[in-house]
Amino acid sequence: MNFTSKHYDMKRKTIYRSLFLFGTLALVSILFQLCKPKGPAEVTTGNAASQAYVAPGKYDEFYNFVSGGFNGQMNVYGLPSGRLFRIIPVFSEDPTSGYGFSEETKPMLNTSHGYVPWDDLHHPALSTTNGEHDGRWVFGNANNTPRVARIDLKTFRTAEIIELPNSGGNHSSPFITENTEYVVAGTRFSVPMGDKTDVPISTYKENFKGTISFISVGKEDGKMKIAFQIKTPGVNFDLARAGKGPSHGWFFFSCYNTEQAYTLLEVNSTQKDKDFIMAVNWKKAEEYLAAGKGEKAKAKYVHNWYDEKTHTATSEMLNEVMQLDPTVLKDMVYFIPCPKSPHGCDTDPSGEYIVGSGKLAALIPVFSFTKIQQAIASKEFEGDFGGIPVIKYEAALHGEVKKPGLGPLHTEFDANGNAYTSFFVSSEIVKWNVKSLEVLDRVPTYYSIGHLCVPGGPTRKPHGKYVIAYNKITKDRYLSTGPELTQSAQLYDISGDKMKLILDFPTTGEPHYAEAIPASLVMPNSVKIFKIEDNNHPYVAKGESKTNVERKGNQVHISMTAIRSHLTPDNIEGVKLGDEVYFHVTNLEQDWDVPHGFAIKGANNAELLIMPGETQTLKWKPLTTGVFPFYCTDFCSALHQEMQGYIRVSPANSNIPIKFSTGKTEAPAGATGSK
């Protein structure tokens, strides 16, 4: 405890003592009254358990794609059961699957800063067509080293990652337009860019700029490309949502730190009563781009994609990006004042209303797209910020939800015109009507909710049924696990007028945003196996007779196969100290759910987990001579424990020839080879 006292009058000590006694008595009586626990257990009532119960062998109704936060991955749960199905490796290495360790997947984590083994994934975005979920892809953002990933929902694997130049942390991402024309990426940190990046930090106002990247997405193949970047004044971009329906063609970004502070943002970025929602007319941006109004800027960024035929990722370095300057190109970008450091910026299913959530405000402003258009047409501006017009607050405002709670963060919607907003400080979800702005219901969350999710909540046709709270703090909610505790999700039934807590389950990593989609839109497309005849990996062995061990200088390439229950070859000799050994293992199985694994003693990386029909490569550099065992790490069959082999490593100067086999027994050969 730390306090400042100046004087203490000894003579009055006795008076204080009696005061103290009285105070303590009063305190005790208050404590006594307040001691009635009305715990969360009481909130879960009636048939809650049965509502969330999915019987063994039955399927969940929804997939829930939950960001892994600081695990850098995307976690897949079922709803309403809360069962965890998969952790999809995206931005972090995954020794379990070999992602980032196998030669084929290492390029996925390449960046302009070299190989980056970890990141922080905050927001999933499910692809949409006509503003509705289409079940094709889910995108995710890397918050630290700015990137966007596309995960293919046929394989539940990361298919592509693109880096973002001129960005200092990709938080305002990867929100998408109605037909997945674009994925956006707004920089959290503004940074100096261009040729002049070595500048004093104190020159923020002059030298630091923000960018919003619009990444185009291939209609058929999903391939990502940075179509253009919009340069902005230096601020922090936080979150974003595309317009839809009537507002399709526009994008809305929340931004804070319009004070342009560069130190102690806790104080210095919260000085103004209002920051901004930035409205971007991206159709207009497309026009400018087509008219050649963009400027090519030098940039260095990496684009990685995974080829399902070669089962191999490729990395390419890109060197330029198109930029648009809204201070020159008019009618493309506008600011709308929004109270107190807006965090969430969410458009309702009709596309008419844009909800800003000032995380330090005790109200929620709701803006009207129609009024924004009118305000622009009649030039109802209160001035400009960095050369960009600022629309008058009242001119854009539909209305305010008054005193809804403390610390509004994010809003999702149901199909009945209602909004659900998470409140971090008051730790609750508040349901309100978008048109009337009337608060309809509130429920506590345990504890400190961040994001929330209604299935289809950000789309034109929400599926409704549930709202899920993603909580930051669990303190006493579960069996304790030392100082580090799990985060949690809480599932509420929203089918009635009142929200009802029906399930509470722990989550992996740190969930930020999540989306949920009906299983019927995803599950039928799920790939079961990779066809071996389509495998174009350069070292594939499409059958045991095709296996091979080949020396190329000091590299030894082993084309190995795995099938229940042996590896071919399983006896290998002729490797010398100093060699780099590449185990290219093809899983010959063409049967669903029969992966094989591969690991070798002393490998300084991880295992391989190889799906049916796939080839994956583990690089191994032996450091001593001897015989090293390797084996299948996935319990594939009754004879899994027999699925093993040996590789012999001889001294560098030995003349042992390359030799490999499976099932061949020889008479003892005596002392050939090393001395």
């Binding site: 008051s426 730790s427 400190s448």
Partner: protein, 182 residues
């Protein structure tokens, strides 16, 4: 008078320091509400609510927080800068004011006043500058003054500053009244 005004702070601290470990669990159990404020934790540093609950001179404030249902909110991660008027400070209000505010029909008014005492963010004493304004939870500003090292808030004297796990508590000798809404 000036000297008297320090007493509450000393009592607050005395109370905190004299707390026997055995008693703390009952304090934790009894922290008002049933959300985060009810978490049993005798080890962690006290949060702003527990600082107030453990202060015999902040019983009115604690009652007000409970009536406004803000006890759980202030037990949250915050961080908060709380300006905590003493019982004496509440006593200085016109007779009947507190009783009125505690009535269920006046919950919004009470909340507005309490929100005016809370800033989301930690402003330590060292960070206070003369003339600094803080936009409080209710969206109205308070003004801090610092003259010869002495801090006042909208004219109220700061009697002491207590660090809490989720922020900082400034003990003040007057209730801060938000500006009239138009």
């Amino acid at each position: 008078m000036k000297r008297l005004s320090i007493i509450p702070l000393l009592l607050l601290l005395a109370c905190g320091q004299q707390q026997a470990p055995g008693n703390e669990s009952s304090v934790a159990e009894a922290a008002p509400g049933a959300g985060q404020s009810a978490v049993q934790d005798e080890t962690s540093e006290r949060d702003v609510v527990r600082v107030a609950v453990n202060s015999p001179v902040h019983t009115t404030l604690v009652t007000a927080l409970k009536t406004a249902e803000y006890v759980d909110a202030l037990s949250n991660a915050g961080p908060f800068t709380v300006f905590a008027p003493t019982n004496e400070a509440f006593d200085k209000l016109p007779a009947g004011t507190v009783e009125n505010l505690l009535k269920p029909e006046n919950k919004d008014a009470l909340r507005n006043i309490l929100e005016y005492h809370v800033y989301v963010g930690v402003i330590t004493e060292a960070m206070v500058q003369d003339g600094m304004t803080l936009n409080q939870v209710n969206l109205d500003n308070i003004t801090l003054s610092k003259k010869d090292g002495k801090i006042t808030v909208n004219g109220a004297n700061v009697l002491g500053v207590v660090k809490a796990s989720n922020g900082v508590v400034y003990v003040i000798d007057a209730v801060l009244l938000p500006p009239e809404k138009k």
